[in-house]
Symmetry: C2
Subunit: 136 residues, 2 copies
């Protein structure tokens, strides 16, 4: 329960790979996919999403490829996860008005709200730069 899907894992692995590259270096999707052991076409989709959101920048044609769209220290784990998994949402109830007619008189609601904000807070506080650091 409450689990990241494979897509989420792949996304994290992929962007960490980019973050570990020397400044200014671009990487082909084929290279990234091979390096982080993810089906290339699947990873390509994920990186398309990244690109649309500006998390990575992409260039086509010879010499093209992907690089981070901004410094790794400015990309949070939350962003990466939410791009592919959607908003962190422990329960439908939290979707908003109308989605849970019970919301008004539902004591469980505030619990999920708390869960959500705690998880968001944790993931917001982790940057890709930290995750990319090689340490032991």
């Amino acid at each position: 329960m409450m689990g990241l899907t494979r897509k989420g894992e792949y996304a994290i692995r992929g962007i960490i790979y980019l973050a570990r590259l020397p400044q200014g270096k671009v990487a082909l999707i084929s290279e990234i996919a091979a390096a982080v052991d993810v089906p290339q076409a699947f990873l390509a989709k994920i990186f398309q999403n990244f690109a649309k959101l500006g998390l990575v920048s992409s260039a086509r044609g010879t010499g093209g490829g992907f690089m981070l769209g901004r410094p790794a220290a400015k990309i949070t784990l939350r962003e990466v996860v939410e791009v592919v998994e959607g908003p962190i949402m422990p329960n439908r109830c939290l979707l908003g008005v109308g989605s849970c007619d019970r919301a008004a008189h539902c004591n469980v609601h505030p619990v999920w709200q708390k869960v959500q904000s705690q998880v968001v807070a944790i993931l917001d506080n982790v940057t890709i730069e930290e995750l990319a650091r090689e340490e032991r």
Copy 2:
């Protein structure tokens, strides 16, 4: 992402219904299902799990039905959720040895560990008794 399934929602609704019953009163699965608006056969499965774990006690035959297996104040939301959804597990990595060969040198790992323990802590601190209280 990170979401409760319908089964989880149903489980919570169902056990709260039980908790709101007067002491010692038993409820038929048909009654509960109608009251909380859940397919009866599906809810029956959920309650079978509850019974196996002792969260509810069940009796067959005329006059049978379900009641809480212990005081609502002694049943945590975490227990209820985990019975039907399995352990709270934001990432496969946390499953244990061998499940993630990256674990040893993976900086993301501790983040999921933190998420897990935070969520568990929240859900452990909420009892069904609290959830069953009618207030406004």
